[in-house]
């Protein structure tokens, strides 16, 4: 195959292309995933804590 007789060699020739293709597919599928930064996490915590305070204030009728 491909002018190469040893299947261990033409196999790895194709396998190298396939592994690069795997990287491309993974990158495309997950292109927009995992965008949360540490700053976003801190902001989320602050918003969540503010919400907690508001809830408590409502419960206390303030």
């Amino acid at each position: 195959m491909l002018g190469i007789n040893d299947p261990w060699i033409w196999g790895v020739y194709l396998l190298s292309f396939l592994s690069a293709l795997l990287c491309v597919a993974y990158g495309l599928v997950n292109w927009n995933k995992g965008g949360k930064t540490e700053t976003d996490e801190i902001l989320e915590e602050v918003v969540w804590e503010e919400g907690e305070v508001e809830m408590e204030e409502k419960e206390l009728g303030l």
Partner: protein, 528 residues
């Protein structure tokens, strides 16, 4: 060859590097900028910088030359470089490294491990392994670039080595990791273009993909008798299973470098330079294609150079290079390719050498400044950056001195030694740090020490090539190697040291008290 045109091209290239180094220097305000590029690097810059650091003149000239000797079996390293060095490294290791590095405020690979296991010993011991081990790797990359400059520009090898080092030292010392990564991205782009042209031109010159491979397959009868007796069965066949040639190909060249990439300090630190996992997802795409175009092309062209030399001169590549595998690719490019391509490739190799060396020097500088000096003295801030800069200059001097004294055909071997040492010393500790909460400080130290010393012992007393060259075993034991029965003299240290390091890490961890839950919570915050 038009030397004036070539010099103009190189001058423009050096000016572009100067500008990017200056840009890095302008944007560097504090030690976080200097050491982890402010943790806000663009995914293209990160991926190309990772790739350009990973792939050096060692991969192209050194391993390309080795492919001229061993044949296409070396493509197993290309597969591992992509699947392990990019996919596994980014998807499994990279995301956890980025998050844990941020949680712990770590700025170097050693510091990440030290803070995860709450151990100063880990930080300065790892820092010393990096600072003392990396000059070997840096010097062979330097040799790769200087050999090509010598062949192409007819500049004396010693002068080429020195000039090349001074240019790199200037922008690393000033620009920090930002300067390094900006220049890396530009250099990687040049490398990609150069290697794409090289692949197309080699195949077209040899009549296309299948005819070129067929011609190489038909050369099997030309394998020299001494190589055939060691297991060489042709350039499109794997060596005879279990032979000395097979063990060297599989254990040293493929496993040593293929697995070792996971624990390379200058690569791991790249994961800590991006602001979220999304950048790493995008970088996987760019990195996979880039590595295929680098090592895949270098190894295929290296093997196919045999067809060219047999057709032109009636001799195989290693004979055309007068026995020095490091000269196969430079001689092939200079004799088989048109002048304009020699210029393009010259630039690609300069880029490959510079991008890897700059990261090596930066990693060595931070190892001595952050990991050793800060850990031992407790001093931080501006003085630490000064010590880091002094460390970088020391690293350059060490690499240049080694570059002058190392022998021929050393590039691939020197690279494999350092990759293998890093895997043996760091991989068990690094893997357990990210994936096993039960791993303890004592377990991590056990893995680090066992991996380092077993690896060094094996190099000095058992692995034929290094043991015989060093002569320590001969002095102590009266013979070249401790174990003379096959295959041990050709089994790479990583095959023995890495499993032993893992066993030590796990066994000692299970025998000692688990880490405090509060500490683990801090380390693994946000890691699923």
């Amino acid at each position: 060859m038009d030397i004036i045109l070539l010099n103009i091209i190189i001058l423009v290239y050096v000016l572009a590097i100067g500008y990017l180094g200056y840009k890095g220097w302008r944007e560097t305000k504090d030690s976080e900028d200097y050491m982890v590029a402010g943790r806000k690097i663009h995914p293209y810059v990160m991926a190309m910088s990772y790739g350009a650091t990973f792939i050096s003149t060692s991969a192209i000239v050194g391993f390309g030359g080795v492919a001229g000797l061993f044949g296409m079996g070396l493509l197993w390293l290309t597969f591992l470089n992509i699947f392990v060095g990019i996919f596994i490294a980014f998807v499994l290791f990279g995301k956890r490294t980025r998050k844990m590095g941020h949680n712990l405020g770590a700025m170097t690979f050693s510091e990440l491990l030290a803070k995860r296991f709450d151990s100063k010993f880990i930080q300065y011991f790892s820092g010393l392994v990096i600072f003392l081990g990396m000059p070997m790797y840096a010097s062979v990359v330097l040799i790769g670039a200087a050999r090509f400059i010598e062949t192409t520009l007819a500049i004396d090898f010693d002068i080429a080595l020195l000039l090349f080092s001074i240019i790199i030292a200037a922008y690393v010392v000033l620009g920090g990791l930002k300067g390094v990564m900006y220049t890396d991205a530009m250099q990687a782009t040049i490398m990609f273009v150069g290697m794409a042209f090289l692949l197309l031109m080699t195949y077209s010159q040899l009549g296309g993909v299948v005819p070129a491979h067929q011609a190489l397959t038909d050369l099997a009868s030309l394998v020299p008798a001494n190589l055939a007796s060691m297991g060489h069965e042709g350039w499109t066949s794997m060596p005879a299973s279990g032979s000395a040639w097979w063990w060297t190909l599989i254990s040293t060249l493929v496993l040593g470098v293929g697995i070792g990439a996971l624990a390379m300090p200058q690569l791991v630190v790249r994961f800590m330079t991006v602001k979220s996992s999304r950048e790493l997802n995008r970088a996987v795409l760019i990195g996979g294609v880039f590595i295929l175009m680098m090592t895949g092309v270098a190894f295929v062209v290296g093997a196919l150079s045999n067809v060219y030399f047999v057709q032109q001169d009636g001799v195989i590549s290693i004979a055309a290079a007068q026995g020095n595998a490091d000269s196969i690719i430079p001689i092939f490019i200079n004799s088989a390719m048109p002048d304009w391509f020699v210029y393009v490739f010259m630039l690609s190799l300069l880029a490959a050498g510079m991008s890897t060396l700059s990261s090596q020097f930066h990693a060595q500088g931070t190892a001595i400044g952050r990991d050793v000096y800060e850990t031992i003295t407790g001093m931080r801030g501006g003085r630490s950056i000064l010590i880091t800069r002094v460390g970088i200059i020391l690293a350059v001097i060490l690499a240049v001195i080694l570059g002058y004294i190392l022998p021929g055909s050393i590039i691939a071997r020197g690279t494999a030694i350092f990759f293998g040492l890093c895997a043996s010393a760091f991989l068990s500790m690094y893997g357990c740090a990210l994936f096993w909460k039960r791993a303890t400080k004592a377990g991590a130290i056990a893995g680090l020490v066992v991996g380092t010393f077993v690896s060094l012992f094996w190099l000095v007393f058992v692995h034929q090539k290094e043991a015989a060259a060093l002569g320590i075993a001969k002095m102590v034991l009266g013979r070249d190697v401790l174990i003379t029965s096959m295959p041990w003299p050709v089994v790479d240290p990583i095959v023995v040291a890495l499993p032993l390091a893992f066993v030590a890490t796990v066994a000692v961890s299970l025998a000692t008290q688990p880490p405090a839950p509060e500490h683990l919570e801090k380390c693994f915050k946000g890691i699923k």
